[in-house]
């Protein structure tokens, strides 16, 4: 599931002395994705206590498309964060993707499918721009992505003329579609997550990508050029955000000119909740997707016990805050987890980070 899945198998490690002395449950628990999964399961378990309706079919079907969109944007964000960056331009990219798809698709000038492809590819160029500036000029990603966000917001205004237009019917019907009773958008997001996770963990390029994020110098020593990976992270982030924007245009039918703003902070929160460190390096795409699911369900749940926006925001912020602190504090430290579970001051090992204990393979 996560990085450890591809490292030395956990079970033999318990029996044979040297590499990894941790027990299997502890190892599994130390995967960031596991902790995110526990949070999601716990949230769904307590949901009926507040309102039975929150786990009804209607509720789940209403919530999933928004979780799916957050997940797709957050997968891109994970890739950038793995490279030690932060993409603040996803808001603009989502909106630009949505507005482009709606405006071009409904204009009748091009086929809606062509409009969708153009929307995604043109928007992704801004990601390439961010990546090139970050990689070659070595400027802080925060500043660079704020700038490219501003460029995209400007283009949104120019393309839309200041007002939203209707998404083409094909796109809007597709976004509402169901497959085995669940929204197709959820399956779309699932596909993105699985492909990204597989590429990252099972392919050479994926392993190199993680290596570059974790230790640029080591990557350079073995002849891997970090610039290519940095640029591709920003490109993919913009591409995925634009794809989410296209889906959003279909889901909303009338995408507003600030529609993407609602995805910036959740995309970062989902990454952190999913267990990817903001400092870069290894990440868990599945964890990120679970983080997105957690956020969508949380927002739905909070809405059911209060209509007050102020209280909703405060409660939501507190729970996300606790989740992030828990994830960061426990992040990869089996000793701390064990300590929490067994209350033993077990090891004298100074709670090493998994970075030191795990073996990484770069094929």
């Amino acid at each position: 599931m996560t990085t450890h899945g591809t490292t030395a198998p956990a079970a033999p490690a318990v029996r044979t002395e040297p590499v990894n002395r941790r027990r299997l449950p502890a190892v599994v628990l130390s995967w960031p994705g596991t902790r995110a999964l526990i949070a999601v399961v716990a949230l769904f378990a307590v949901s009926p206590l507040f309102s039975l309706g929150t786990i009804s079919h209607t509720a789940i079907v209403s919530m999933l498309p928004f979780a799916a969109l957050t997940a797709v944007v957050a997968v891109g964000q994970t890739l950038v964060i793995q490279q030690g960056g932060l993409d603040l331009s996803v808001a603009g990219a989502v909106t630009l993707g949505a507005v482009f798809a709606a405006k071009l698709g409904s204009s009748g000038a091009v086929d809606p499918i062509v409009a969708v492809v153009i929307a995604i590819l043109v928007t992704s160029l801004f990601g390439v721009l961010s990546g090139v500036v970050v990689a070659f000029l070595d400027l802080p990603p925060l500043v660079v992505t704020i700038a490219s966000n501003a460029l995209m917001v400007g283009l949104v205004q120019a393309v839309s003329g200041g007002f939203s237009s209707h998404a083409p019917n094909q796109l809007s019907d597709f976004a509402l579609g169901r497959w085995i009773g669940l929204p197709v958008l959820a399956f779309g997001a699932l596909a993105v997550v699985l492909i990204a996770q597989a590429v990252l963990k099972l392919t050479r390029i994926g392993r190199r990508f993680e290596l570059v994020g974790e230790n640029r110098r080591a990557a350079e020593y073995i002849g891997v050029s970090p610039k290519f990976y940095t640029i591709s992270a920003y490109w993919l982030s913009a591409l995925l955000a634009a794809a989410a924007g296209v889906m959003l245009a279909g889901l909303l039918r009338i995408p507003t000119l600030t529609a993407g703003d609602a995805y910036l902070l959740p995309s970062i929160a989902a990454v952190v909740l999913g267990g990817t460190a903001l400092t870069g390096g290894r990440g868990s795409i599945v964890g990120t997707a679970l983080g997105a699911l957690f956020l969508a369900q949380l927002s739905q749940l909070v809405q059911t016990f209060t209509q007050s926006t102020a209280v909703q925001n405060i409660v939501q912020a507190l729970i996300i805050g606790v989740g992030i602190v828990a994830q960061l504090q426990l992040g990869g430290s089996t000793a701390r987890l064990k300590g929490l579970v067994s209350r033993k001051t077990a090891t004298s090992t100074p709670s090493p980070s998994t970075k030191n204990t795990s073996k990484r393979s770069v094929k």
Binding site: S51, G53, T54, S56, T58, A59, V61, S62, M63, P65, F66, G162, F163, S164, S165, H166, L176, R178, P183, L248, L251, L252, R253, I254, P255, T256, L257, T258, A259, A262, S299, Q300, Q303, T304, Q307, S308, T309, A310
Partner: protein
């Protein structure tokens, strides 16, 4: 010596202070009265209540002296705002003395909206029409006052600026929101009948004055009809954004298994509500809102698959900017304008056909105009096509 010096310093200080106060006074006076003496009072029937049948004509209030107009919209990013702007442009085109109509959208940003208001006055606009809905009305009142003091004729419209006409600005043109709330709620009561049912109300941004006042009207009617239960203790926040409305409605659908009627105070929000129902695979119930071409023209098709669906709307008052402009022009040229500035908006469209004087959606639909158009707008189909393409 020392005491002399102290006295000298004291006298100088007093003189400087007096000079400053005098300068301040004189500058305040000159700017209050400004080039025109009519920023606060004119023969314009400020605050008069009435209906759309009492509209005035711009020909009666237009003069010969060149006049510049600025429009600031606290939101300005949706179709309603686009129509309002087009209506003001269309009205302004009928008075040749209007040399320019500058438009700024605050996009929901309070600071940007306030900056636009003071900026318009600083630029020397003769007339400033403001929709103070980037936040609570009073958050924009200070800059409205400042603009008035600077000699600009300010007419807030379409959202309550708080403050007082004649003290803080010339006049405030709008619907009476509580009346709209009552009209919607009464239709729900009549249509659901004695069996009653559950109702939800979706408003605009959190704390929006219009939504709050509409909500009071709704509560007033429902208090007399206990068979109808209002599920939402306050307006549900949508920011008048169909996307957010869709998400909010999705939340309501999961929270309440039985919703028999939805009241939304903006037609595009109602579209988002329908979208949420479709996404959840639940049948659309009674829906009442402000008029919107996509609601009217799409009614018959939606009704086929959603048997319980009925629609009633009142005017989305996109023409209110025209009233604001006429009031301001009358003040600028010292003319008389007797039309109302506060409007009671009853239903204009009712799919059940039970409300007298209303059209059924199929008849209200402007088939040649785009889906974003407001059927109650005063724009022509050609004008609609020009703005929505």
């Amino acid at each position: 010596m020392k005491s002399n010096a102290t006295v000298r310093v004291a006298v100088t200080t007093v003189m400087v202070a007096a000079a400053l106060i005098l300068a301040g006074c004189s500058s305040t006076n000159s700017s209050t009265t400004g080039s025109t003496n009519n920023t606060l009072h004119a023969d314009i029937a400020a605050g008069k209540v009435g209906t759309e049948s009492q509209f005035g004509s711009i020909a009666d209030v237009c003069g010969s002296k060149p006049v510049t107009v600025s429009v600031v919209d606290g939101y300005g990013t949706n179709s309603w705002s686009k129509t309002v702007k087009a209506e003001i442009d269309s009205e302004a085109a009928k008075c040749k003395s209007i040399t320019s109509v500058a438009y700024t959208a605050g996009a929901g940003d309070l600071a940007a909206t306030n900056a636009a208001i003071t900026g318009a006055a600083a630029k020397g606009s003769n007339i400033l029409l403001v929709i103070p809905d980037a936040g609570p009305g009073q958050a924009q009142l200070a800059s409205i006052r400042k603009a008035t003091k600077a000699g600009t004729i300010v007419v807030p419209f379409a959202s309550d600026p708080t403050g007082k006409a004649g003290t803080d600005y010339l006049d405030y043109a709008d619907q009476i929101p509580s009346f709209s709330g009552q009209a919607w709620a009464q239709w729900v009561v009549d249509t659901l009948g004695t069996k009653g049912g559950n109702v939800v109300f979706l408003g605009g941004p959190a704390g929006a004055a219009v939504s709050a006042q509409e909500f009071i009207g709704i509560q007033k009617v429902l208090a007399k009809n206990p068979q109808i239960k209002l599920l939402t203790p306050q307006p549900v926040t949508t920011n008048w954004d169909p996307a957010q409305a869709q998400q909010a409605m999705a939340g309501l659908l999961s929270q309440y298994p039985k919703i028999d009627a939805v009241i939304a105070d903006y037609g595009a929000v109602a579209s988002g509500v329908i979208r949420a129902y479709q996404a959840a695979g639940v049948s659309v119930p009674l829906l009442t809102s402000t008029d919107d071409n996509s609601l009217s023209c799409g009614f018959d098709a939606l009704k086929k698959t959603n048997p319980a669906y009925e629609l009633a709307t009142n005017s989305s008052r996109t023409w209110i900017g025209r009233v604001a402009l006429r009031k301001a022009l009358a003040a600028f040229y010292g003319k008389t304008d007797t039309e109302p500035s506060q409007y009671n908006l009853g239903l204009v469209e009712d799919s059940t056909g039970k409300t007298a004087g209303t059209k059924v959606p199929d008849k209200a639909c402007l088939s040649d105009a785009p889906s974003d158009a407001s059927p109650s707008s005063l724009l022509t189909t050609a004008e609609f096509k020009a703005i929505f393409g």
